[in-house]
């Protein structure tokens, strides 16, 4: 999976305080800037598109618009990808490296809540060395005694 070439200015993105939608993948908590979120819909039938990487599940009909759906669990290598009652699709607005804004669905295990993250909760992403690729994380937030990884969703999706 190739990733967009990151310029130095881009890679120095610091986590910013603000509102984040938190959701679960497995039992880990992740957050996306709420300004990126368009809507959250329940799981629907996905039409798979051939010749695509496994994490691109296919396309759905969002009120007449056809949007691609990415399974974040597969994207991040979670082994268990069963669809449950709580599984849903978070529709986000992302910007491609070509500067085109597109809507995209993300399959997540469960949506939790909107977190109000203040600067004091934030921490830089720790360096895992080569063990873990962290370029799509902007940072970590400790809220209510739990760690939420904040995603740079533009970078997660563009590959």
């Amino acid at each position: 999976m190739s990733t967009a070439i990151i310029t130095p200015t881009e890679s120095s993105t610091h986590p910013t305080a603000g509102k984040y939608l938190s959701f679960l993948l497995g039992n880990e908590s992740y957050g996306i800037d709420v300004l990126k979120i368009r809507e959250i819909i329940r799981m629907v039938d996905i039409t798979s598109v051939p010749q695509m990487p496994a994490y691109i599940k296919g396309v759905i009909n969002l009120r007449g618009k056809i949007i691609p759906v990415v399974d974040l669990r597969i994207r991040f290598g979670f082994p268990n990808c069963e669809t449950t009652e709580r599984t849903c699709i978070v529709v986000v607005q992302v910007r491609t490296p070509q500067n085109i804004t597109i809507q995209m669905g993300l399959i997540v295990d469960a949506v939790e809540e909107v977190l109000n993250i203040v600067a004091g909760d934030l921490e830089e992403t720790p360096d895992f060395g080569t063990q873990l690729d962290t370029e799509y994380l902007t940072g970590m937030a400790k809220v209510k005694g739990r760690v939420t990884s904040l995603l740079d969703i533009d970078r997660v999706i563009i590959s």
């Binding site: 039938d45 598109v49 396309v59 759905i60 009909n61 597109i102």
Partner: protein
């Protein structure tokens, strides 16, 4: 003068010119606007040092307008002076930007005289005007708008000019051409496109003379007007390229000196008048104004070319004038999306089992009412994108005129079905193929007059361009009564070029299909019009892209007919819904020949892998769709599945699918950025149950197999 200042003033001068159109001797129409515009011009000059003659001229105009204000109306004399003044100002302003100012005509001071000589001869550019640099940062939006307008005006002008050939005195047409140049002049002046402004002005003046019956339009005039329109078009194309960013900004030069000289020349030669503008001013001005006015009440004259109805009178052309609104295509698309969605949602409601249990007549009535309304709504929203093919057809008139003159042939183009409506996008894409085909007809089809006469045909050849609806398609026919296609020669050429095997036996249809092969051209001599060996294959490709097809019929010595079948719209596709395992796909009906369940003896294979189906004695390769897309099919046994014979690139191939589900019309949607590289698919559609179905692209699907990229 500073540029902004210059712009301001020339813009006001333009506005003043427009106000002049409304004036009438003995009335005060336009008096107040002209007065206030003049004051504004004075204001702009008060802050800047202005060349003396301009300041003086403004002073004079002030005097005239004040006099008119006092009297409460314009005198004919005053109007004549103002219009000359206006023209002088325009010239003076343009000149001041690049050249020394024209000498101030002393005659302006002789207020009583109507014989105002013209500064034109002095200001005619003996050198080319400087190239124009676009102020993209400032004017990009305005320019973009102007490009669109200019395109329309130029098209209108061209159509008008061509119809002048038949009816050189048609006032409507003259007026509409005049108006076109006038608007171009106004816009280009405003946007500081100097040379364009000047050229438009010259052409406008020429038309003005014709409008006043001082000039009989001859083919010389028409040629020069067309040449002028072409130059303007070329210039606008250059502007457009920069505005759209396909070319880096650089100054655009527009050589107009020769053209301007030509215009002056034809005006003089054609009318015997010393100069086009002295013509307009030496006349008693009483003549100018009433006429200008009498033509005003028709705000939208229809300058449509009626080639085949020269006998038709004025009256039918004055069709009812309908208003129209320009709408952002983005809004239109979302409206169409939503209507499509609504129809799906409505179908879901209607088919809801809970509803079926209710036995209410009232409900049934209401539901059917709802269905009717939503059907109407869908139909209308689809028709929003539809435009008549008229303008594309009219472009061909010009083309035929030019081509036949160049080739030394006599050709008449007859149009019919211009009102046939097609999706706007299709019409845009259709223009190129039509040009190619018309070129071919003129170049290869129609014979030279002497040959035609020798063959017992009228010297003047005829090309018919017809459009009509047929079934769900639009059919466009290009028929010529020329030499027809020489099948023998086509065959010989194809062999020579190695397009077919030396001893291949082909049917007539297959031979004609060779014309579409890349690199095929039968032109005996290479002209600058056609016969470059490109052409028909491009036509074919374009038509394919529009999901249409093209057929050829030809009788030697009698002529040929090219028939293009096109879908009504690119937004909807007539498709065959098939399933493979859980997935459903849509195959465009146009590319499907037939479908059947094969028997075991129809299937054979090569090397244990390359499977083939024998269809009526013909062996076709069998392609399993599930292998392409790595799907889990319901069955791998062809005799339990369905074979669909598809046509791609002139070859038939068989696709194996699990089931045929339905034949239905679907609204095509793009798959978007994420899937732009996915091969084998052209798009997606929302099916009746709200789910997404993928539309297969038969051609690229087949190519997948050929590139052996399959399964890996």
């Amino acid at each position: 003068m500073t540029t902004t200042n210059y712009m301001e003033v020339s813009c006001r001068i333009e506005k003043l010119a427009m106000e002049m159109v409304f004036t009438q001797p003995g009335k005060d129409d336009g008096l107040l606007p002209i007065n206030s515009l003049l004051s504004e011009i004075e204001d702009s000059f008060s802050t800047q040092p202005v060349p003396e003659p301009i300041a003086q001229a403004v002073g004079l105009a002030r005097k005239w307008v004040d006099a008119a204000l006092e009297e409460g109306f314009f005198s004919t004399d005053c109007l004549a002076r103002l219009s000359t003044w206006n023209q002088w100002m325009q010239r003076a302003l343009q000149t001041s930007a690049e050249l020394p100012l024209p000498p101030f005509p002393p005659i302006f001071t002789v207020v009583a005289s109507t014989q105002v000589p013209n500064p034109a001869p002095e200001t005619l550019p003996s050198v080319e005007p400087l190239p124009v640099s676009l102020d993209l940062a400032e004017n990009a939006d305005l320019l973009r708008e102007f490009i669109g307008e200019a395109r329309e005006h130029l098209q209108e002008i061209e159509m008008g000019v061509l119809s002048l050939e038949d009816k050189p005195k048609d006032e409507h047409t003259l007026h509409s051409i005049f108006r076109g140049f006038h608007s171009l002049k106004g816009g280009s002046g405003f946007l500081n496109l100097g040379p364009m402004n000047r050229l438009a002005h010259e052409l406008e003046s020429l038309l003005e003379l014709a409008r006043q019956h001082k000039l009989d339009i001859t083919s010389d005039h028409i040629d020069v007007i067309l040449a002028g329109a072409d130059a303007l078009k070329k210039f606008m194309a250059a502007v457009e390229r920069q505005v759209e960013g396909s070319e880096p900004p650089h100054p655009i030069s527009m050589p107009i000196a020769a053209l301007v000289a030509r215009i002056t020349d034809v005006v003089q030669g054609g009318s015997g008048e010393p100069d086009q503008e002295s013509g307009s001013t030496t006349s008693s001005s009483a003549q100018i104004t009433p006429e200008t006015n009498s033509e005003l009440p028709s705000p939208e004259p229809h300058p449509e070319k009626r080639n085949d109805s020269a006998a038709e009178q004025e009256a039918p052309e004055q069709r009812s004038i309908r208003g129209s609104v320009k709408v952002d295509t983005g809004k239109l698309d979302s409206l169409i999306d939503l209507v499509g969605e609504m129809v799906v949602a409505q179908a879901q409601v209607l088919e809801d089992p809970a509803l079926a249990k209710l036995e209410s007549q009232q409900l049934a009535r209401n539901l059917s009412h709802l269905r009717r309304i939503s059907n109407d709504l869908q139909r209308i929203s689809m028709s929003l994108r539809m435009v008549p093919i008229r303008s594309t057809f009219h472009k061909m008139t010009r083309l035929v005129r030019d081509l036949s003159a160049k080739a030394g042939k006599l050709v008449e183009l007859r149009l019919s079905g211009e009102e046939t409506e097609l999706d706007r996008n299709i019409i845009e894409e259709l223009s190129d193929p039509l040009v190619h085909m018309i070129r071919n007809s003129v170049d290869h089809g129609i014979e030279k007059p002497e040959v035609r006469v020798a063959r017992g045909k009228p010297a003047r050849g005829e090309i018919r361009l017809r459009a009509r609806h047929e079934g769900g398609n639009v059919v466009i026919e290009i028929t010529d009564d020329g030499a027809g296609i020489n099948a023998e020669r086509v065959l010989a050429k194809a062999r020579e070029r190695g397009i077919i095997e030396p001893n291949a036996e082909l049917t007539e249809k297959e031979i004609f299909a060779l014309l579409f092969a890349p690199g095929f051209s039968t032109a005996e001599s290479i002209t600058d019009i056609s016969g470059r060996g490109v052409g028909m294959d491009v036509v074919k490709r374009n038509v394919d892209k529009l999901r249409g097809k093209i057929e050829i019929e030809s009788v030697p010595q009698r002529g040929s007919t090219f028939t293009i079948y096109l879908p009504l719209t690119l937004a909807i596709i007539d498709g065959l819904l098939v399933s493979v395992g859980r997935e459903r796909f849509i195959l465009p009906t146009l590319s499907v020949r037939e479908s059947f369940r094969p028997t075991a003896d129809m299937i054979s294979s090569v090397c244990g892998r390359g499977e083939m189906v024998t269809v009526r004695g013909q062996i076709r390769p069998l392609l399993r769709l599930h292998q392409y897309f790595n799907l889990q099919p319901d069955t791998t046994d062809p005799t339990q599945a369905i074979v669909i014979v598809v046509q791609s690139e002139g070859q038939d191939r068989c696709l194996l699918v699990d089931r045929l589900l339905a034949k239905q019309e679907v609204v095509i949607k793009g798959l978007g950025e994420t899937f732009k590289n996915s091969r084998g698919l052209t798009g997606a559609a929302i099916l009746g149950d709200g789910r997404v179905g993928l539309i297969l692209d038969v051609n690229s699907l087949v190519a997948l197999k050929d590139s052996a990229s399959l399964q890996e």
